[in-house]
């Protein structure tokens, strides 16, 4: 894995990496990716991927409201709020 690739991964994951951290992450991520290469020793062309170990399908429920409004309760742990709204840096000029 190259340095620019790691920087791109960090960007996609929305994690800032400092200049001095990048080489170590590059080293570790490359190790992990070469370790998982072992997967390619198996031919899986006719195998269906397994998403759920018991082959269960997602349960559906009627489309009716099941939760009560707890906005105030949930906002007590928010980093920054005002008038019931979450505050973030200005997005639209």
């Amino acid at each position: 894995m190259s340095l620019p690739k790691v920087e791109n991964m960090a960007h996609l994951a929305r994690i800032s990496l400092s200049e001095q951290d990048i080489p170590l992450y590059t080293h570790h991520l490359s190790d992990i990716l070469s370790f998982v290469e072992k997967m390619n020793s198996v031919d899986t062309s006719n195998i269906t991927p397994l998403a759920h170990p018991l082959d269960m399908v997602a349960r559906l429920r009627p489309d009716i409201i099941s939760e009560t409004n707890q906005r105030d309760h949930f906002q007590t742990i928010a980093p920054q709020i005002e008038a019931g709204l979450y505050l973030v840096p200005k997005v639209i000029e």
Binding site: I32, V36, P53, H73, I77, P89, K90
Partner: protein
Amino acid sequence: MHNKSLSELSLLLRQRECSSVEMTRYFLDRIENDNRLLNSFITVTPDVALRQAKVADERIQSGNAETLTGIPLAHKDIFCTQGVKTSCGSKMLDNFIAPYNATVVEKCQAAGMIMLGKTNMDEFAMGSSNETSYYGPVKNPWDTKTVPGGSSGGSAAAVSARLTPIATGTDTGGSIRQPAAFCGITGLKPTYGLVSRYGMIAFASSLDQGGPLGHSAEDVALLLNVIAGFDARDSTSLNHPKEDYTKHLNDNLAGLKIGLPKEYFSEGLDPEVFKVLEAARSELEKAGATLHEIHLPHTELAVPIYYIIAPAECSSNLSRYDGVRFGHRCNNPSDLTDLYKRSRAEGFGAEVKRRIMIGTYALSAGYYDAYYLKAQKIRRLIRDDFVAAFKQVDVILGPTTATTAFKIDEKVDDPIAMYLSDIYTISVNLAGLPAISIPAGFVNQQPVGLQLIGNYLNEAQLLNVAHQYQQRTDWLMQNPLGIAG
């Protein structure tokens, strides 16, 4: 008192030889005395505990008690507890007071159990040594220079040192069984979907499963009775009828077929650990079981595909930590992207960041088929290996870990070496099967874990085999030095 089983503690309470308040104070004192050395708790909750104990005492007095009413326990700090900090071992959630209870916590409360506190763990359950916790490493009570295992290392160490009679944990790739093995206790990972994941902070949703860590199979069965069961709030919860997991503990093992996977007893397994397991095998043979060699041919692919599937799911699950609604937020963000990036960079530790980045990579455009889809295909091969094996045998026996507990700092700079310490436990999560680790002896005064893997929803049978083994051996009676008290 701390050496008593849950049934014995329950009897003490019912016969009024001890009140729940007294019992709770007793264990809180033990935590006060020994937790500094072990660091097994992130938060101790004496006020909550004593309040719950008072209510439990009233319930016992009025004759409304259940088996575990009044008995203390500790919850892994991954289970949301209303009004009490739930950190998941991360700086990201250092200020997080959960607004609701996890189903597991709710069920324990409804049974009248007493919460002593929240136990230390690897950050977001990502780790096999408890060294990735923001709150510092947990020490193994058997040798404080070694790790307790992870990620449920705080729960395992606290039970092992008898700071709590029993604890909850979670297991995504071995996080209940591996620390149980390293700390010389019993830990059960139930069938995927048996215990609700509601309010259990998500790491890899198709693998995560909560379960009990206790001294004996009987104790573990009693807590499983409380926490298992269908929950409409967890979309992957199994609608399986309620069972009494203690019912078959005393069944005879005559005719039981035990499978020994050739791949689990090959190179890589410490020869001393192998000897301990050999002795355990013959003990079970004496109890009437027969041993059969079996094959799980795709075993060596389990760790590699796990390190695609688990990070992929984790990168998605952990995208919720954005510094906006709850959790850590950086100071003075210049714009929204800066807010996300710096909040996450400051809030997450190195192992969590590595896994998020690997997962992001495996799911990104152009790589999805080569990594994630390929891994999901091999996952089916691993599952099918077990399905075929269970046509020949009733349970599978193997090591929980290749060695006894390793030294603190030994593997911390080498992620791959750390990942490989879960080599015998990870396949079970990929296949969604139940498995238990029980103490089977010692190598150089360090406990060795024996793993039993069962067919889907066969927890009762696993607990039966474990209990019968524990009736014939006295490993459970041994306490770490300096902890015996």
